[in-house]
Symmetry: C2
Subunit: 230 residues, 2 copies
């Protein structure tokens, strides 16, 4: 029986965009586990699996339900130890938390200032109202104010990727010679940008761009199967 | 036979300060390997082990000589697999490269703008001349110009630690439930600051400060055995 994967969508169900859900899609594909997406828009998330979680991704594997992209990866690692590892050992699992924290505090924060309005615009009308209300309350600004510094954020984005760029001089993946969940954490942020926004964040000839293109090719081009915004 | 550890010193041999050498000191202690420090000042580095490396740390273990803090950790991990792991598996070894790149591009860069003149001042006169010449050539500025933005760098330093601060909500060490080499990478940068500079970079009540204090306590207080500058 396939794993059910509750994935966030906007107005176009063929264009999933959530960074956290992309981490889970890549994790399931990495483990070679068949899964079926259940498309969920923002305002329907509270109904997923009887109100199991306030956020997606959520997966159902037989009778087991798990929420949160990191906990899902940890569940898959523990439950399917004979399939390709997502962490490469306990040290890798722990350090993936650092990479998650770096991604959230650096890339996701920048993405808010760049694409908050773009994300709003890909949603259905009912979701747009919900998204505007919750994000404006959280940030204490209107969506339009949040992206007022958009051009400066776009111009500064490449510099934020310096740790990854430097690391790529040593090895082709954050996971070393092959990708691990840590790669999918950073991929999720950049795929979120790629699917929702036309902002040009990655430059040709940059090692980070080459790494991202390799990520898009993984697992039969799972990431590339959704075209870039534009 | 003890491992010989060539460690960088300034005018006071009891106050080693190099971030990269601190990583190696902590790595050797983590493995429980006895070592003897050979104190080397900047201008004597080219003479270490017959000119083996342009930089320290360098270790000699029997007939084997290894340079570079990361390569030394990898050597110790491979050579002493039955002693406590520095990486927690292949994934952890790979991800330690990301943490190294983050530390170098974020914390070390900030440290240059904060403490370049302080570092100069702890050196012996001959080393001071060498340090000034090489650093000024590399940065295209005088040491005094490099630290012109010092107050702003000090004020902004805490924000740069946000990825670590966020991660500490999940676990007490970058290595998870116990420290690994990745912890020593970040520790090295902050210990460099602690030993050379009176700039107050860590605030009381910050989870990062608590983590750093735990690092100072490790291995019978190895890091704490050198008092803070002041």
């Amino acid at each position: 029986m396939s794993i059910v994967f509750h994935d966030l969508i906007g107005a176009d169900p063929a264009r999933p965009f959530s960074p956290h859900c992309w981490k889970t899609a890549m994790s399931l594909a990495h483990k070679g586990l068949p899964f079926e997406r259940n498309n969920v828009c923002f305002t329907k998330v509270p109904e997923v699996e009887g109100g199991f979680s306030k956020t997606v991704p959520v997966i159902r594997d037989g009778t087991k339900i798990v929420a949160d992209s990191f906990l899902i990866a940890a569940y898959l690692e523990e439950t399917y130890p004979d399939r390709p590892s997502l962490f490469g050992g306990q040290g890798g699992q722990a350090m993936s938390r650092f990479i998650e924290s770096w991604t959230n505090s650096t890339l996701h924060t920048a993405m808010a200032g760049i694409a908050m309005k773009d994300i709003h615009d890909v949603l259905e009308p009912a979701d747009q109202a919900y998204f505007r209300q919750t994000r404006e309350a959280r940030m204490g600004k209107t969506l339009e104010q949040i992206v007022e510094g958009r051009e400066a954020e776009v111009a500064g984005f490449s510099a934020k990727l310096m740790p990854l760029r430097l690391m790529l001089k040593s090895q082709p993946w954050i996971g070393g010679s092959s990708p691990l969940f840590a790669d999918y954490i950073v991929f999720g942020a950049l795929q979120w940008a790629r699917v929702t926004s036309t902002a040009k964040l990655l430059e040709e000839g940059d090692a980070v761009t080459d790494w991202f293109e390799r990520c898009l090719d993984l697992h039969d081009g799972l990431g590339r199967s959704v075209p870039a915004a534009g």
